[in-house]
């Protein structure tokens, strides 16, 4: 192996490990602050948390409505046309459950929130850092992690969960309409469709969706806030850092999704 290449790989590996260590430490700090300071400054913090919940949740309902319709149409359209010849009873319900509920719903919701809110997080916090707002908070003896990061973490965790549920329900509905319109002979009546989905759902699905979406939200918030806040920045560095944070967020969410696939497999849910 040429030394230059080995050096580059070594540098990349060290940089990766340092980032992982930094993210891990930052996540622990955030958890510590959430638990230690949950009663501190409620008059200030509660409106901030509500604002972040709206930003990562209700404000995104229009785009998630579009996504839910598209996802239902796409999944049913593609899978039913491909597998229609097999004539498997309960196919639509099973496909919707496996693809939408377990996989695409949570992951798509996380990716969209990462793109819409996570990128904004990095830019806002990076700018706050570069323009001295973070120092201003410290000068007022206000913990920047508590004031700036905790609302974003809670907002994103709640937002990813709520919007994933919205997306799943929307996609299940739109998928059914799609199937009814285009594949009436393969589509069961509404009651049977719901029963098929319910049959394929397991109590573990509900637990795992909750855990998975909250974990997605937490990871996105940690990665984006870490890059915006945890290191000194100049204004010209903010855009580059935003790109890096979004990329790392995508990688982190995908890796976490792999972990959940293993959990599904281990529990015989796939």
């Amino acid at each position: 192996m040429p030394p230059a290449f080995a050096n580059r790989v070594g540098h990349q590996l060290v940089a990766f490990l340092l980032t992982v260590r930094g993210l891990g430490a930052f996540a622990l700090i955030i958890l510590g602050v959430i638990f230690r300071k949950h009663k501190v400054a409620r008059e200030v913090m509660q409106p901030r948390i509500r604002h972040e919940l709206a930003r990562s949740g209700s404000n995104l309902i229009p785009v998630f409505t579009f996504l839910a319709l598209a996802l239902g149409f796409l999944v049913v359209g593609q899978t039913v046309t491909q597998l229609g010849a097999i004539k498997v009873p309960g196919l639509v319900g099973r496909v919707m459950d496996t693809v939408v509920v377990r996989e695409l719903g949570p992951l798509l919701a996380a990716m969209l929130i990462l793109a819409r809110v996570g990128a904004a997080n990095v830019i806002e916090l990076g700018t706050a850092r570069a323009t001295g707002e973070v120092e201003a908070l410290e000068a007022l003896a206000i913990d920047p992690v508590h004031y700036l990061v905790v609302p974003r973490v809670l907002g994103m965790a709640g937002g990813v969960f709520a919007l994933t549920m919205f997306l799943i329900l929307g996609a299940l509905g739109s998928g059914y309409v799609m199937a009814l319109l285009f594949f009436p002979d393969l589509t069961p009546p509404p009651g049977q469709y719901l029963a098929e989905i319910a049959d394929w759902l397991n109590w573990m699905d509900f637990v795992l969706i909750l855990v998975k979406t909250v974990a997605f939200g937490f990871i996105i918030a940690v990665v984006t806030c870490y890059h915006g806040l945890a290191q000194p920045l100049r204004q010209e560095q903010v855009s580059g850092v935003a790109v890096r944070a979004v990329t790392q967020g995508i990688v982190a969410c995908t890796l976490l999704d792999l972990v959940f696939i293993i959990v599904y497999l281990a529990n015989g849910l796939v």
């Binding site: 200030v44 001295g132 707002e133 120092e135 000068a139 007022l140 003896a141 206000i142």
Partner: protein, 262 residues
């Protein structure tokens, strides 16, 4: 029983830097002021002069306990500044820092900006905050602007709001970074008068950094220090400053006059 004097109530210096080295915020490896030995006692009014980019802001951050010294120690009210963590909020709040551009939070109104430390540390409701802040707003002529956001205000008012925010928690040591820089003539006069009044009324300890010594030139009530080419010199009186650093003071005065003329 008689009231304790200020000196008796505050047995330690307000600020004490011993062999302290100030590094740059963005790159602590860059030394801006080395081996600083400086004692600020209760009720003193210090003017720290230095050219632009001399490191005055970083020195103030160090003095405020926000930037750890690269070497040496920084004590505030007799306590190592590194110990002023979240468990010692009350001690931390004895220091107020006014940033050069006010450093207000852009998403908050002027009232919310100034009220933030009160709301955060005392958990006051919005109504209580308005009641508590009314006299301060009136005195600082900020009442008509309370609902505006920083972007809607001129630099004059943003800086004044930054001062109000630093004063809300009634600090004993007020650090000001270039307070008169970029202000209109009437606002400069207002600041000088207001700082004098604060210093007199509350026996507030004032340390301000500036690149324009003219407003304080010849004022023998003030104490002066110079930060020049990485060397911090707490000269003392105006006469002493002029005697020991005549050329630098003259250069600063000339630079300030050129800047004003431009």
């Amino acid at each position: 029983m008689s009231q304790p004097t200020i000196k008796e109530a505050n047995p330690f210096p307000v600020l004490e830097l011993c062999q302290a080295t100030a590094g740059a915020r963005l790159d602590p490896g860059v030394v801006l002021a080395a081996d600083v030995n400086w004692t600020v006692n209760c009720g003193e009014y210090w003017v720290v002069a230095g050219e632009q980019h001399a490191g005055k802001t970083d020195l103030l951050m160090l003095a405020a306990g926000l930037l750890p010294p690269v070497t040496g120690t920084c004590h505030l009210f007799g306590m190592d500044a590194r110990q002023l963590d979240e468990h010692r909020i009350a001690e931390r709040l004895r220091v107020g820092l006014v940033f050069e551009d006010g450093q207000l939070f852009p998403e908050l109104t002027l009232l919310q900006n100034i009220a933030l430390p009160l709301q955060y540390h005392r958990n006051l409701s919005a109504e209580e905050v308005v009641r508590v802040l009314e006299p301060l707003f009136d005195r600082m002529e900020l009442t008509p602007l309370a609902g505006r956001r920083p972007a809607e205000l001129s630099r004059n008012w943003r800086k004044r709001a930054g001062l109000a925010r630093a004063l809300v928690m009634e600090p004993e040591l007020l650090l000001l970074d270039n307070p008169l820089h970029g202000l209109g003539a009437s606002h400069r006069q207002w600041w000088l008068k207001f700082l004098d009044e604060l210093h007199r009324e509350r026996s507030l300890t004032v340390v301000l950094a500036t690149d324009d010594l003219r407003p304080w030139a010849g004022d023998e009530r003030r104490r002066f220090a110079l930060l020049h080419e990485g060397v911090f010199s707490p000269a003392g009186s105006w006469a002493e400053l002029c005697r020991t650093h005549a050329r630098t003071v003259a250069a600063l005065q000339a630079g300030a006059e050129t800047a004003t003329a431009n």
